[in-house]
């Protein structure tokens, strides 16, 4: 009835057709998109591909700009020096190269750089064999139903907040290791190079080895679940070929399964290493968080770049000249640099060893 009334009043009937014309517009739009789909893919793809690069560049750029005055003043000393002196933040302000900073401030982050590398290397040395072994057991050794349960357990472990692991490390693991494990190791190490690094004193559980173990625990899930997925994709035929040749399971694993996904495992390790290098709060809780000390032995207290950033930020704001905050920004730039170098090394390794890799997706 209403429509007839409206038609009678001479109002445009189009009003009634509005939903229809919206549908038409949508249809036209869809047709347009469909016609131009190749372009959409091209440009959408290009944009998506650029996002990570732009994000990384902007982050580094902003950090570098922020850190620039500190980079100028601290100079090369920042990379090789071993002191962390904010100077007298309530005293006189001096100027170096036109940059204001408190009197007596001097920053050398070498202990932090070394600590970062040391703890991450320990973590990788522990985590890679454990992860590869876990992945191997999950794909080859354990009944499927049990493997599924363990696999989800690993994935849950990957999601446990690092602050929880750090707390556990500081309250339980560290003291346990320091009381019952470290002394045993330390007492049995001969006093010869390399091994002497494992001799006492063993301190109280906060330090390099504890940090490495906690980091390893955090990156095992990453490496293990990635490696498990890689192993699951190794076709059965080459493995059977090895068995039929009279190889043991260990030989098949070492010579066929692992090399088959070699690049992938290196990639997963780099992912884990990236996490270990950047891990902050857990390390801050178990390392001792020192700023200017390289651990004298493997049990010694130390600090890492990421841990220093989080523990020092608060006090850095008390520096009225803002120089300490800028120095922390410089520290962050160094961390990014370490990550990039490590990443490139990983790529180099993959390129060096990759020429024997099985072609991806080879149909078996």
């Amino acid at each position: 009835m209403a429509t007839i009334d409206r038609a009678a009043t001479g109002k445009p009937v189009a009003a009634r057709h509005e939903p229809a014309s919206l549908a038409t517009a949508l249809r036209r739009c869809a047709a347009f998109l469909r016609r131009n789909e190749p372009h959409l893919w091209t440009w959408g793809g290009r944009t998506a591909a650029l996002v990570p690069l732009v994000a990384l560049t902007l982050t580094v750029l902003v950090l570098t700009l922020k850190a620039w005055p500190a980079i100028k003043v601290n100079g090369a000393h920042f990379l090789v020096g071993s002191d962390w002196k904010p100077g007298n933040t309530y005293g006189a302000t001096v100027h170096t190269d036109g940059v204001a900073h408190p009197l007596g401030s001097s920053y050398g982050a070498w202990p932090l750089i070394a600590g970062t590398l040391q703890s991450s290397v320990i973590a990788i040395v522990i985590a890679v064999p454990v992860s590869v072994g876990t992945a191997f057991a999950l794909t080859e050794r354990i009944p499927r139903w049990l493997a599924e349960i363990l696999r989800s357990a690993i994935e849950i472990l990957a999601g446990v907040p690092s602050v929880l692991i750090g707390l556990w490390g500081a309250l339980t693991l560290g003291p346990l290791l320091a009381n019952d494990v470290y002394p045993v190791i330390a007492d049995h190490m001969p006093d010869i190079p390399v091994f002497s690094y494992f001799r006492g004193p063993t301190y109280h559980g906060e330090g390099l080895l504890t940090s490495g173990i906690v980091l390893a625990l955090m990156i095992v899930p990453i490496i293990a679940s990635t490696t498990r997925n890689l192993f699951a994709q190794v076709p059965p035929l080459p493995k059977e070929g090895g068995e039929a040749l009279g190889m043991t399971d260990w030989e098949v694993g070492r010579r066929i399964t692992i090399p088959w996904v070699r690049s992938g495992i290196i990639g997963a390790t780099m992912l884990g290493l990236g996490r270990a290098l950047g891990e902050t709060i857990a390390v801050a809780m178990v390392s001792g968080s020192l700023l200017n000390t390289i651990a004298p032995n493997i049990y010694g207290t130390m600090g890492t770049i990421a841990a220093a950033l989080v523990t020092q930020l608060d006090s850095a704001f008390t520096d009225g000249t803002g120089f300490e905050v800028r120095t922390l920004a410089e520290l962050a730039v160094v961390l990014v640099g370490v990550l990039l170098v490590v990443n490139m090394l990983g790529r180099l390794i993959i390129r060096r060893t990759g020429h024997l890799d099985a072609p991806a997706g080879q149909g078996y």
Binding site: L237, P238, G241, L245, G246, M247, R255, P259, L356
Partner: protein
Amino acid sequence: MANDGEHQATSRPIIGTTDSRSEERIDPILAALDPDRERPEHVICSQSLTLSFGQKRILDSITIEFRRGSITALIGPTGCGKTTFLRTLNRMNDKIPGFRYSGDVTLEGESIWGPSQDLLDLRRRVGMLFQRPNPFPMSIRDNVVAGVKAHRIAKGKQLDVLAEERLRQVGLWEAVKDRLNDSPFRLSGGQQQLLCLARALAVGPEVLLLDEPTSALDPISTEYIEQLLRQLTPALTLIIVTHNLGQARRISHNTMFLYEGELVEHGPTEDVFERSREERTQVYVTGRMG
């Protein structure tokens, strides 16, 4: 080794039969030189082998003997248990869940499941070539000597010598001698399969199991490999699963026909194909059943 094989191949008819073999054995000098003369005539014997995976029975009381130095073709429709039977001979089925067997399989008179039988050594003595080439992710040279290294048969410089010898034996040497350290995955399918054959031969097997070794290859590679297999006898005993009846007739001395897990007929290839005793065999070999 390669020359040796060629000599034997030319001295023997291309379509071998057991008859032609026994004629050869009459030669007294050859018989005296035959290193196998003290050993049982049959390398592998299957004695009422019954095999099942869980509730599913795959093989039903199979009794057959494989004569030393012969090629036996294993034919039958898909799902008849050919591959299962073949894989049983070097115990590749043992790990499959629900695997059960009764009866026995003997290698040189000794049960392959016997307590004194070393599984790894059994697999060295009974080699295998698969349906598709399965090179390992290592260099071409390392592929050839992978088994040799595992069994610690040779080391150091000997490995290079051995790799060359085996690659020559399969006729791959000229093609790969300049890229021994390259990936095997860039070789053609036929070349990859030859590489796998060289790898299987390198550990010095007595028996070679072949599971449709040419089904993924082009006709020229197939013909080449068939020729090569003939040259491997009588030094080796070959058992070949094939869907290609022409191939079975071309290369085998004996043929066994499996149907639904049952050994329907076996005997000299010509007899099985031309004078089948069983209706089912006749239906299959004449192509009326796939």
